[in-house]
């Protein structure tokens, strides 16, 4: 391998690309292969795009995130952004290899960005220490691709819905491929979501393992497992003793309190195995993270990011799962889009109505329209309720809106969400006035 000549200062990023820096990656980019997309621009064109134009967002700088950042930087992505809301904990150090003991307590995004920039010349990593929800559509619009290495269903649902909503039929740039990686012990998955084109995260929500929950009567009366004692402490004793005080699972004092209560209960029922770690694991729903699973899934995600960014090979369609619990098994399949998906499914209609129309007139139109035939529609716009058919109290509260002109409630070009029992999920209306 060539050794780097000293990185030239003030050069644009590609100036630091010493001779043969990307020798191996270029084997793939310099000539088309049997499965390359016809739009593939072998050679300078694709390299130029990857190394000077492509902007990629990494969500999460934890177990998967560290691997993803390193992989992307080393495969030639130069403009990388990373978001993470967490700080480094000592227990992260066994697998989140961008962090060192001196970094404990510092924001993951900042430390990870600094480390990558130090080790991989010419790469710019822009960190953001905070929540993905802090950022708006304009922020997400600037990227070509988004990769997620998250540990929460809620955050995934949020970014998925945001990227689906971002798609504007008038603007091709608004469709941002989302690559989602996830691991749980020896199992993992990587998937490619093309918002509005392929099945989205919400479409597959029913595939998720539900969080382990024990019957509350077992917890209360017949505990048999250490987990039962811990759940007793957190579900029943905490609210009883601490009242309105919210439990913070990141607060060591709270965990200690739960641990003490759970231990006492375990002793009473002669159950062994309640430890501080288990207490934290149960209340935070932690499944032990395995470094090698993270490495495999991150590699798969980055491989997809590289293929999508360069068109150099066919990309994953659309779900890869890895099961490492008994040997090594993997399976790839096309997860289907759900028509009744609350995020990407459902019908969408453009309606144009006279300015004089009341809400009631619009509802009549929806009921009469042959091609929709909605019985008893309920309407809302954003967080605002326009008209609800039930329950009684909400019907009464929204009834005065029936006589109001629609234009007072929904602006020109505004959206209305319609739900009704005759619709699989919901219908969205975009209203324009004439």
């Amino acid at each position: 391998m060539a050794t780097p000549d000293v990185a030239r200062v003030n050069g644009s990023s590609h100036r630091t690309d010493w001779h043969d820096r990307y020798y191996h990656v270029d084997q793939v980019l310099d000539r088309p292969g049997p499965r390359t997309d016809p739009s593939f621009m072998a050679g300078a064109g694709v390299k130029e795009f990857l190394r000077t134009q492509c902007k990629i967002l990494v969500i999460g700088a934890g177990g998967l995130g560290c691997e993803i950042l390193a992989n992307l930087a080393l495969s030639g992505f130069k403009d990388i952004h990373v978001i993470d809301m967490d700080t480094i904990d000592i227990s992260n150090l066994n697998r989140q290899f961008l962090f060192r003991p001196k970094d404990v307590g510092k924001p993951k995004a900042l430390v990870a960005a600094e480390y990558i920039m130090k080790r991989v010349p010419g790469v710019t990593v822009t960190p953001y220490f905070g929540k993905i929800q802090d950022k708006d559509d304009d922020y997400y619009m600037q990227f070509n691709l988004v990769i997620c290495g998250l540990d929460s269903v809620e955050a995934r649902r949020w970014i998925n819905a945001t990227l689906v909503n971002l798609v504007d039929p008038e603007n091709p740039e608004s469709l941002k491929p989302l690559i989602d990686g996830g691991t749980e012990g020896f199992k993992g998955q990587a998937r490619v979501i093309l918002p509005t084109v392929t099945s989205c995260y919400e479409c597959s929500l029913d595939m998720l393992n539900k969080p382990t929950a024990f019957p509350i009567c077992t917890i209360a009366n017949t505990p048999r497992l250490p987990e039962h004692c811990i759940e007793w402490a957190s579900v029943l004793e905490w609210p009883r003793v601490q009242g309105e005080k919210k439990m913070d699972t990141d607060d060591p004092e709270h965990i200690q309190w739960l641990y003490n209560i759970a231990s006492a209960r375990a002793k009473e029922f002669k159950i062994e195995g309640v430890t501080w770690q288990l207490t934290q694991g149960v209340v935070k729903n932690i499944i032990p993270a395995i470094a090698s699973t993270n490495a495999i899934i991150a590699a798969s995600c980055c491989n997809e990011a590289f293929k999508i960014a360069t068109s150099s090979a066919a990309y994953l369609n659309n779900y890869f799962m890895l099961i490492g619990t008994d040997g090594v098994y993997s399976y790839t399949f096309e997860h289907e889009k759900r028509d009744d998906c609350p995020v990407c499914g459902g019908e969408s209609l453009e309606v144009s109505v006279p300015r004089s129309w009341t809400v009631e007139r619009l509802i009549e139109m929806l009921v009469e329209k042959q091609d929709i035939q909605i019985k008893k529609p309920s309407l809302s716009s954003g967080a605002k309720h326009i008209y609800f058919q039930a329950p009684k109290q909400l019907e009464e509260a929204t009834r005065p809106n029936l006589e109001k002109p629609l234009v007072d409630l929904v602006p020109d070009g505004g959206d209305i969400t319609v739900t009704a029992s005759s619709l699989p999920f919901s219908l969205s209306l975009r209203v324009t006035y004439v």
Partner: protein
Amino acid sequence: MIKIWSMKKNEEAAAKKKPKTSAAQIRVQKDLTELDLPPTMTTVFPDPADLLNFSLTITPDEGMYQGGAFVFSFVINSNYPHEPPKVKCTQTIYHPNVDLEGNVCLNILREDWKPVLNLNSVMVGLQYLFLEPNADDPLNKEAAEELRKNREQFLYNVKQSMRGGYVKGVQYAKVNV
């Protein structure tokens, strides 16, 4: 970059654009506006603009708890329907499956919750607890014990508690209407 848009053009769905409402919000709107409750159940929204926090009053018209009005609080978070709603009884009641703190032992609220279930199923499940209290899954052990051993005494205790009286040293909320 791969040309995704060209694939998109072939799709009829090209005009889809959803409003900025969270999936949980839409789902709650759908669940609530399609509630099909018997006259024995009523929902109350302290803030009608907030669909995620409300209460349900159950007034059983038969069974041992007839004549009472039982109030449950519902708290729904943004992870609904991946997570079940959090439901608690707001009164201290004498019931084998409800403890004195208001925790409810109903399988679909915890271990058997699935996203395909909805608010209607939870509400119907709650009402069922008043028609058929279940001594096998006790949260109030004493009440369960009584129900199993001496149904007459249990019934007497229920009536006593519903009047706001004491049962075995515990004062219960007056729920009679």
